[in-house]
Amino acid sequence: MAMLRVEDVRKSFGPVEVLRGISLTVGQGDVVALVGRSGSGKSTLLRCLNGLEVTDGGRIEIAGHTMSYEAQKLRELRKDVGIVFQSFNLFPHMTVLENIVLAPCVAKGISKQEAQSIARDMLAKVGLSDRSDAYPEQLSGGQQQRVAIARSLAMKPKVMLFDEVTSALDPELTGEVLVVLEKLASDGMTMLLVTHEMAFAKSVATTTIFMHEGRIHESGESQEMFTRPKTKEFKQFVGQPLH
C-alpha cells in the first residue's frame, strides 16, 4: 500500500523554480532519505508534503489524504503526518510534558489523562522520561530534538517527515537523535528524511533519493546507490558529502 504518492509536483519561489516536476511513491514502512546539495529542493519538497508550502502544480496523496489547502482538510491531513524541524521549535513557555500533551488534547480532543499517558510512553521511547517537567531551554539541543520527535509521535501519525533534524546539533548530540530515528525505522514507521548524514542514509534508509536542481536525479535502494552511484552528479556528491 502506498503511504505517499507524489505526481509531477512543481513549486516556484518568485522566478526561481525550486521543484521541477517531482514524482515518487513511498510504501508503508519505507524509510526514504532525501539527499542533495543545499538549494536542490529537498526541504521544499518535504514541506510540501504536509502543506507548509503550497505547490504550484501536481498532486500529493499522503497517509490516505489528498492534499487540499482548505483549512479543515489540511488539519485532518496533518493529524496523520508528523514533521520535525532542524531548529526543534519546541514551545518555550511550556514544559516538556505540556509540549507533548497540547496537540493530542486540543487538536484531537482526547482526554488529558490519556494524552499524558501517551506523552510518557513517547518520552520513554526517546529516552527522556526523567525530563518531563523541564523547560526546553534547560535541555541540550539533542534532548530538545528528541522531545520534538516525541511531540510529533504523540499525535500517532502514519508518516513522519524529518527536515535536517541533526543539522543544528554538535556531532556528539547528533548520535543520540540518530539512535531514536533508527529505532523508529525499525518499529516500522514510514519516514522521509532530508539529511546530510550519508552514513545514516546508507545504513537506515531503505530508499535514497538524490535531488539535483529541483528534480529527482537518481534514486534507488540505499546500499546499492551508495556502493555503486550511477550519475556523475551523485558520484561527485558522495565524494564530498557535506553540502
Partner: protein
C-alpha cells in the same frame, strides 16, 4: 472652604487622586479589551480587517489626546446623552489607550518567531488554538514591559481631562493652588501623588522585565 494647605487640603488632593486612578483603570480595561480586538484584527488573514485596524490605529495615534477628548465630550452631547463629564473623559482615554495598546500588542504578536506558527500548525492546531496556546502566551511576555510603560504614561495623560472640569489630581492641584496661594507647595504635593501612583508601576515593569527574560524561572 479651604484657605491654606493643611491636612484637609491634602485629603482633597488624595480624594481627587482616586479619580485619576479610576480613569486610568477604566481606560486600561476598556482600552485593553478594544486594543486586543484591534491587535488581532491587525494580524488577521483577512485584508479588510487588517486595513480597518491599521486605519483605526493611525487615526488614534495621529490625533492629539486633547482633540479626542473634545470629540468624545461634544460627540456624546450631540447624541443627546446628558452624561457627566467623567464618562466622556473615560471614553476618550479608553479610545486613546486602545490605539496604543493595539500597536504594542501587534508588535508583540508579530515578534513571536515564525517557526512557532509552523510547528503548531503542523500539529493540526486551528488558528484560534495557535493564538490561544502558543502565540498569545509568548506575546504577553514580550508585551508586558512596554504595556506597563504605557500605563505609566496613561496615568499622567489623564491630567488632560481636567480641561472638561473633571476634578482629578491635576485639576485638584489647580483649585488648591488658587485657594491657598501656595502653588509651589500644592504642586509638590500633587507631583508626589502622581509619583506615588507611577513609581510602583515602573518598578513592577522593571521586575517583570528581569523575571520574564527567562522562561524556566517564570
Amino acid at each position: 472652604m479651604i484657605s491654606e494647605f493643611d491636612a484637609n487640603a491634602f485629603l482633597f488632593l488624595l480624594k481627587s487622586a482616586q479619580w485619576t486612578v479610576m480613569l486610568t483603570l477604566t481606560a486600561t480595561l476598556m482600552g485593553g479589551v478594544a486594543g486586543l480586538v484591534i491587535a488581532l484584527a491587525r494580524v488577521s488573514h483577512k485584508a479588510l480587517l487588517r486595513r480597518a485596524a491599521t486605519f483605526y490605529i493611525g487615526v488614534i495615534q495621529g490625533v492629539p489626546v486633547l482633540v479626542i477628548l473634545f470629540l468624545a465630550f461634544f460627540g456624546v452631547a450631540r447624541l443627546g446623552l446628558d452624561l457627566p463629564a467623567f464618562f466622556a473623559a473615560a471614553l476618550a482615554m479608553s479610545l486613546f489607550a486602545s490605539g496604543y495598546l493595539a500597536e504594542i500588542w501587534r508588535g508583540a504578536i508579530q515578534s513571536v518567531p515564525k517557526p512557532q506558527w509552523e510547528a503548531s500548525t503542523s500539529l493540526a492546531l486551528t488558528r484560534l488554538q495557535q493564538f490561544r496556546y502558543i502565540i498569545i502566551p509568548q506575546a504577553i511576555r514580550i508585551a508586558l514591559p512596554p504595556t506597563v510603560g504605557f500605563l505609566v504614561q496613561l496615568v499622567k495623560n489623564t491630567s488632560i481631562v481636567s480641561i472638561l472640569g473633571v476634578v482629578e489630581l491635576a485639576r485638584a492641584g489647580q483649585i488648591l493652588s488658587v485657594a491657598t496661594f501656595q502653588p509651589f507647595l500644592v504642586f509638590v504635593a500633587t507631583a508626589a501623588l502622581y509619583f506615588a501612583i507611577c513609581f510602583p508601576l515602573s518598578q513592577i515593569s522593571r521586575r517583570l522585565e528581569v523575571k520574564l527574560s527567562g522562561y524556566a524561572k517564570g
